[in-house]
């Protein structure tokens, strides 16, 4: 099932995204103080509610999407854990050690919302990264790779918007603070429950800026696949229901984001959502995929680092699945 939070007539309700629109399940889910807590309650009670939710979806008339506003499915996660790098990017090299950082959990926005670039002028550029998000259930601590499914509730799409220091290096060095500006965590459109996604390492991720394709990759290319991410994260932190792990991006499709643009992403099998960009300072950068000296885009590698070109492997067509 594809679970959402939506707002209609000022009321926030949990629902199921179907082909015809959204079916509310508000009366089936325990009442909670905040929309985030509502979704956490749904995650915790899902196994016992599932039959009734499915019956509701088969019987009720869905509400049309244009009659309501979709909210981010996790409006305020307890924590957002993000992988550093984590894609091979079609180059032959040694795997980098897995590592993570924490992103500002108050920075979440949803479908139709606006990324607001900050007045802060220290970062020289702001970029998009499109990522698969793992929606967790817990409490989970010390989970082994073999038991990874016990900590996973479902999956969503997430844009890890980033302020850059120099080149494509995140501003803020080891603090990763360039990832934590307000509004820099667009998420959506729904949580696809784990039973709908047999293999999270076989998903196709696409991202468009004003309709132009930028990221276009398969999660099969992850250096450290989902079971390893769960083991790593739960070794350090207790994972709770409604927390998020962002799996990292394939940097071959990085590009700037700037005033007036519309960003759209789709994880196939989960869904598509879009956000707008506003910049009070109206800064501008060259549009297109980032081709700087440290870009991993294959054309940029051949241009700036010809000595590494022999390491490049042709990108498989991620759509083949």
């Amino acid at each position: 099932l594809k679970l959402v939070l939506f707002q209609s007539d000022g009321v926030v309700e949990p629902g199921v995204l179907t082909e015809g629109g959204v079916v509310s399940v508000a009366d089936l889910v325990p009442p909670a103080e905040t929309p985030q807590r509502t979704m956490e309650g749904l995650i915790d009670a899902y196994d016992s509610l599932r039959d009734r939710i499915e019956r509701r979806v088969s019987q009720a008339e869905p509400r049309a999407l244009n009659q309501l506003k979709l909210l981010p499915p996790l409006p305020r996660p307890g924590k957002v854990l993000c992988c550093i790098a984590n894609y091979w990017e079609h180059a032959q090299r040694a795997a980098r050690p897995l590592n993570m950082f924490l992103k500002n959990p108050d920075a979440v926005i949803g479908h139709g919302d606006t990324i607001r670039l900050p007045d802060n002028t220290t970062p020289w550029m702001f970029m998009h990264e499109a990522e698969l998000g793992i929606v967790l259930k817990g409490p989970s601590k010390g989970v082994s790779q073999q038991d990874w499914r016990s900590a996973v509730f479902g999956y969503t799409g997430m844009m890890d918007i980033t302020g850059r220091g120099e080149g494509r290096t995140t501003w803020g060095r080891w603090t990763w603070l360039g990832k934590s500006f307000d509004t820099f965590c667009p998420m959506g459109p729904c949580i696809a429950t784990a039973d709908d996604i047999p293999d999270p390492n076989n998903l196709w991720v696409q991202f468009w800026n004003d309709g132009q394709l930028r990221h276009n990759y398969s999660t099969e290319d992850m250096e450290h696949p989902v079971p390893e991410l769960i083991e790593f994260a739960s070794r350090t932190l207790t994972l709770r229901s409604g927390d998020l792990i962002a799996c990292g991006t394939n940097h071959e499709g990085l590009g700037p984001v700037q005033d007036g643009e519309t960003l759209e992403m789709e994880v196939h099998g989960i869904g598509r959502f879009r956000v707008k960009v506003a910049d009070p300072l109206k800064r501008s950068w060259e549009r297109g995929i980032y081709m700087g000296v440290d870009s991993t885009n294959h054309e940029a590698v051949r241009r700036h680092r010809p000595q590494e070109a022999h390491l490049l492997q042709p990108a498989d067509n991620p759509a083949r699945t």
Partner: protein, 265 residues
């Protein structure tokens, strides 16, 4: 006013007569911070005549939505590194007399318990200029910000491991800003197993509290109950299983915690 949170989650006042629960005035510390203006008279009344609770046990005074650990250093002649802050999560929070659990560190790094001034935020606070920094500060508390050291500066997992469960004790209570006066004139001391470790003054900062608030609110909105750990000085020693750490900040009280090896589940 000195505000604590009992282990059952309700707020309480720290008075000369003892700990006075005020769960009937505000259900939790975040509500108390947000509505302090209107609740203040009632709290003052309870401070003078409320019944103290025998055997009251304190938890962390607040479980912050965000914890921001500053790169600021006190009492050093070193060239300042750029002012930055890194996030810890609520999983790291423990209260007075609880124990930190030594994390699974991937590699054999040392873990340093650093005594820091904690700023408890009243929000939302966004894009504050330096002159207005005090608008964002509800009060102060003691923070032990544990840092693992020794990894690669860019991809080192020491920074990740510093965010482990239990590695950010706070307390024993929050003292409201009006009671502190100048927070940049406080003595900070720590002891490890009873032996003096850190001893510095918040007077000698690379970055003032005003500058720190202006900086972080240029990045993100601070919400009520968020905590900034305002930086530290030298003197901390690596900690081990069985150790005790105590820190005391002038006028803010003394926070004592233990250290235990993690017991396999």
């Amino acid at each position: 006013m000195k505000l604590a949170t009992l282990t059952d989650g309700q707020p309480a006042l720290v008075t000369p007569r003892g700990i006075v629960p005020v769960g009937d005035v505000a259900s939790n510390m975040r509500v108390l911070i947000d509505r302090f203006g209107e609740l203040q008279a009632k709290l003052r009344q309870r401070e003078s005549d409320g019944a103290a609770l025998e055997g009251a046990r304190l938890g962390p005074p607040i479980v912050p939505g965000k914890i921001l650990c500053s790169t600021n250093r006190f009492a050093t002649d070193d060239e300042p590194t750029p002012l930055l802050m890194t996030l810890k999560s609520a999983e790291s929070i423990i209260g007075p007399d609880q124990s930190m659990l030594l994390p699974d560190t991937f590699e054999a790094w040392d873990l340093y318990p650093e005594a820091e001034l904690g700023l408890v935020i009243k929000g939302p606070a966004k894009q504050l200029i330096e002159q207005n920094w005090q608008q964002a500060v509800f009060g102060y508390t003691c923070v032990i910000d544990v840092m693992a050291r020794g990894g690669d500066p860019m991809y080192g997992r020491d920074y990740w491991v510093s965010k482990s469960d239990t590695l950010c004790p706070i307390g024993p209570w929050i003292t409201t800003a009006d009671e502190i006066g100048d927070a940049e004139q406080l003595c900070v001391q720590s002891w490890q197993n009873g032996q003096p470790a850190q001893d510095y003054s918040t007077a000698m900062a690379q970055y003032s509290l005003a500058r720190q608030i202006e900086f972080i609110t240029s990045v993100m909105t601070l919400e009520s109950g968020d905590v900034i750990a305002a930086g530290t000085a030298g003197g901390a020693r690596p900690m081990q299983d069985g150790d005790q750490v105590e820190i005391e900040l002038q006028r803010l009280g003394r926070l004592r915690v233990g250290i235990k090896a993690r017991v396999a589940a």
